[in-house]
C-alpha cells in the first residue's frame, strides 16, 4: 500500500526534527528534575523517605490500575460465558428480503430491480432523501432479445497434448 510522504520544504523538515528533539530533551529534563529531589538530600544523593513516599504513591496508582484491569477482564470473561449459553437460546434474526427492503425504502413498482441493474444510473432524491426517480444509463437487455447460445459441436476437435513428464512422447510436429 502506498504511504504518501509529500515533499516538504527541507527547512520545515529540519524544523520538525529540531523541535521534536527539543521536546524530548525537555521531557527528559523534567523527568530528571522530578526524580532528582526524591534521591537528593542535604547529605548528598541517597534514597530516603521522600523516595519511598513517591514509591508508595506509585504503588497505590498501580493497585488502582490493577483493580480496574481485574474488573474489566472479569466482566469480559463473564460476558463470554453468558453469551455462549445465550446464543443457543437466541435465534438468528430473519433475513430481510426484497419485499422488506422495498417497504423500508418506500420503493414502488420495479424500482428495486431498476436500482439493481448493472452499469450506471442517476438517482433523483426527494426532500426526505427517498428515491423519487431513477434513470438508468445502460439499458438492461431482455433475456428474450439475447442471441441464442452457441450450439455444441457435433464432432468437437480435441487436441491432446502429451504429458510433460513422458519421455517417450512423440514430437508434436504432426499437430
Amino acid at each position: 500500500m502506498k504511504i504518501i510522504r509529500t515533499r516538504q520544504r527541507p527547512f520545515l523538515v529540519v524544523l520538525d526534527v529540531f523541535f521534536t528533539v527539543l521536546a524530548w530533551i525537555g521531557l527528559l529534563y523534567l523527568l530528571a528534575r522530578g526524580l532528582w529531589p526524591l534521591i537528593d538530600t542535604h547529605d548528598g544523593p541517597r534514597i530516603d523517605g521522600s523516595f519511598f513516599d513517591a514509591l508508595g504513591t506509585l504503588q497505590i496508582y498501580l493497585w488502582v490500575a490493577l483493580f480496574n484491569a481485574v474488573i474489566l477482564i472479569g466482566w469480559a470473561r463473564y460476558q463470554q460465558r453468558k453469551s455462549k449459553s445465550f446464543a443457543q437460546r437466541r435465534l438468528p434474526a430473519p433475513v430481510v428480503d426484497d419485499q422488506g427492503l422495498s417497504k423500508s425504502f418506500k420503493l414502488t413498482g420495479d424500482r428495486l430491480e431498476k436500482l439493481r441493474a448493472p452499469g450506471s444510473m442517476t438517482i433523483h432524491n426527494d426532500q426526505e432523501g427517498d428515491v423519487s426517480h431513477v434513470v438508468t444509463h445502460f439499458t438492461p437487455v431482455d433475456p428474450s432479445q439475447l442471441p441464442p447460445p452457441l450450439a455444441p459441436l457435433e464432432h468437437p476437435l480435441v487436441i491432446r497434448l502429451p504429458a510433460e513428464d513422458d519421455d517417450n512422447r512423440e514430437p508434436i510436429s504432426h499437430l
Partner: protein, 451 residues
C-alpha cells in the same frame, strides 16, 4: 421546547457538577480530577488492549502468506463506496476494492452529486469491470443518504462500507464478514484504519494516535462488549440489522457514531477486527485537523443528545458505561476550562479559598507520571500493532507532541461542539466536505509501498 429545556439541563449538569464538587471539596479537587481522569483511562486502555492481544490477537496467524478465514458458502459481499469530489482518489479506491482476494464481490460506487470529475472517472471504471456499478445522485445528499442508496442497490446481506479515499487491503472484506457468519447477532464489524498521509508533523503524530489511542480504545471496548463508534471509513454491516434500525440517519453529522448506537440499542453486537486493514487519508494541517475533530466531537454530542431520553431504560444498561465515560470526558473538558478560568481570574482578584487554583500545571511528579504513562501507552500499542505495519516503532519519535497538541485540540473541540449541538439549529440533512486529505503529492514525490 422540551428538547431545549433538556439541553439546558444537560449543560447545567456538565457545568454544575464540577462546580458543586469544588465548593463541596476544594479547588484542589478540580486539579486532581484533571490529572487522575486521563491517568485512569490510560490504565484501562492499556489493560484492555493487552488482554485483547494476549487472549485473542496473538493467536491469530499474521504472515505475508496468511489467508483469511474461509467464508462458508462463499456469500456475495457488497462493497459500498460513497464518493463526493473524489476525482483524484476514486480510481485507486475502486481498484483496491475490486482487487479483493475473496472472489464473490460486487462494488457499488455512489457519486454523491460531486462537482469535480468523479462521475466521469467512475463511469470509465464501470465500463471496464462488470463487478462495479455506479449510482449518481442528482444532487449532493450527504453520506448517510448515499449509503442508503447503496444499500438498496446492493444484492448482498453483507455490506462493507468504505470512504471514497480509502484503500482496502486485499483480504479486508473477508476478515470483516467472517465473524458475521459465525455470530448470528453480530450487526457490524469495524476494521483497522491506517494512515497514509505522513508528510507533516500532524500526519506523523496521527499514525501513532490511530494505533495508540484509537486502536487501544477499540480493543478495550471490544473486551468490554460495547463499542462507542465504528470507524465509518472501514466497517461491515449485516443488512438485516441495518434494516431493523432504519439504516443510517440522514440528519446526523457523524453517521458512524449514530449507527453504532442504533445497532447496540437494538441489541446487536459490534466487533473490532484489527486484521481488516484499510489505508486512509487524513488531514495534515492544523486547520484541517481542527475541522475534522470538531465534526467528530459534534457527532458524539449529537448522538448523546439524541439518545439521552431513551437510554435510561434498564434493557439498555450495557450502554450506560459508554455513556458514563463520554459524560466524564466531557465533564473533564469543562473542569479543565473552569480551572483555567479560576486560575486566570485568581491572578487579578482574590478568589475564595474553596475555588482558588494556584497552579495550572500539575506538580512535577504527577505531571511527569501522566507523560510517562502516555508514552507507555504508545509503547504498548506499537508492540501490539507493529505486526500490521513494519517500522511502526519509528513513529514513537513524533508522539512526544501528542499529549500537548492533540489533547488540547480534543479539549477545545469538546468545549466548542457541546454548546453548538445543544443550542444550535438541528439540520434536517447533514452534509459535510472532508477538510483535507493531506498535502497533495507531486508526481515525483516519494511514495513508499508497504506490504
Amino acid at each position: 421546547m422540551l428538547d431545549r429545556l433538556l439541553a439546558l439541563l444537560v449543560l447545567a449538569i456538565v457545568l454544575g457538577v464540577p462546580l458543586g464538587l469544588i465548593f463541596l471539596v476544594t479547588g484542589q479537587f478540580l486539579m486532581d480530577f484533571v490529572f487522575f481522569y486521563p491517568l485512569f483511562m490510560s490504565g484501562l486502555w492499556i489493560a484492555g488492549g493487552l488482554y485483547f492481544w494476549l487472549h485473542w490477537e496473538r493467536h491469530w496467524p499474521w504472515q505475508d502468506d496468511t489467508l483469511p478465514p474461509p467464508l462458508a458458502g462463499e456469500p456475495l459481499i457488497s462493497i459500498l463506496i460513497p464518493c463526493y469530489n473524489e476525482g483524484d482518489n476514486a480510481a485507486d479506491t475502486i481498484h483496491a476494492a475490486l482487487a479483493q482476494h475473496y472472489p464473490n464481490i460486487e462494488v457499488i460506487a455512489i457519486n454523491d452529486g460531486s462537482k469535480d470529475n468523479t462521475a466521469a472517472v467512475l463511469d470509465a471504471l464501470a465500463a471496464q469491470d462488470p463487478r462495479l456499478r455506479v449510482l449518481h445522485l442528482a444532487e449532493n445528499q450527504g453520506k448517510a443518504v448515499a449509503l442508503r442508496m447503496g444499500a438498496i442497490a446492493a444484492r448482498s446481506e453483507y455490506l462493507v462500507c468504505i470512504d471514497g479515499d480509502a484503500l482496502l487491503a486485499p483480504n479486508t472484506a473477508a476478515y470483516l464478514v467472517a465473524p458475521m457468519l459465525d455470530n448470528a447477532r453480530l450487526g457490524a464489524v469495524t476494521g483497522n484504519p491506517r494512515i497514509r498521509t505522513r508528510s507533516t508533523l500532524i500526519g506523523r503524530v496521527q499514525v501513532g494516535e490511530f494505533s495508540s489511542i484509537i486502536g487501544l480504545i477499540k480493543r478495550t471496548q471490544r473486551v468490554f462488549g460495547r463499542i462507542f463508534t465504528v470507524s465509518g471509513v472501514i466497517v461491515a454491516f449485516r443488512r438485516t440489522a441495518l434494516n431493523r434500525v432504519g439504516y443510517w440517519s440522514p440528519d446526523m453529522i457523524t453517521e458512524d457514531i449514530d449507527i453504532s448506537w442504533k445497532l447496540q440499542l437494538d441489541h446487536w453486537s459490534i466487533f473490532y477486527e484489527p486484521r481488516a486493514l484499510c489505508w486512509i487519508l487524513m488531514p495534515e494541517t492544523l486547520g484541517g485537523l481542527w475541522k475534522q475533530r470538531l465534526r467528530w466531537a459534534q457527532g458524539g454530542a449529537e448522538v448523546l443528545f439524541k439518545n439521552i431520553r431513551g437510554i435510561w431504560q434498564y434493557r439498555h444498561r450495557y450502554l450506560w458505561p459508554l455513556l458514563f465515560e463520554y459524560c466524564l470526558s466531557t465533564g473533564w473538558a469543562f473542569t479543565f476550562l473552569l480551572s483555567v478560568i479560576f486560575w486566570g481570574v485568581g491572578n487579578f482578584v482574590e478568589m475564595p479559598p474553596a475555588i482558588a487554583v494556584h497552579h495550572l500545571m500539575p506538580p512535577a511528579f504527577t505531571g511527569l507520571l501522566l507523560a510517562v504513562v502516555c508514552l507507555v501507552q504508545f509503547a504498548v500499542s506499537i508492540m501490539i500493532d507493529r505486526r500490521y505495519e513494519k517500522g511502526l516503532g519509528r513513529t514513537m519519535f513524533w508522539v512526544v507532541w501528542y499529549p500537548l497538541v492533540f489533547w488540547f485540540i480534543s479539549l477545545l473541540t469538546t468545549l466548542v461542539s457541546f454548546p453548538k449541538v445543544l443550542f444550535g439549529q438541528h439540520q434536517k440533512r447533514a452534509r459535510w466536505v472532508s477538510p483535507d486529505r493531506g498535502i497533495k503529492p507531486l508526481d515525483d514525490d516519494e511514495e513508499e509501498v508497504i506490504k
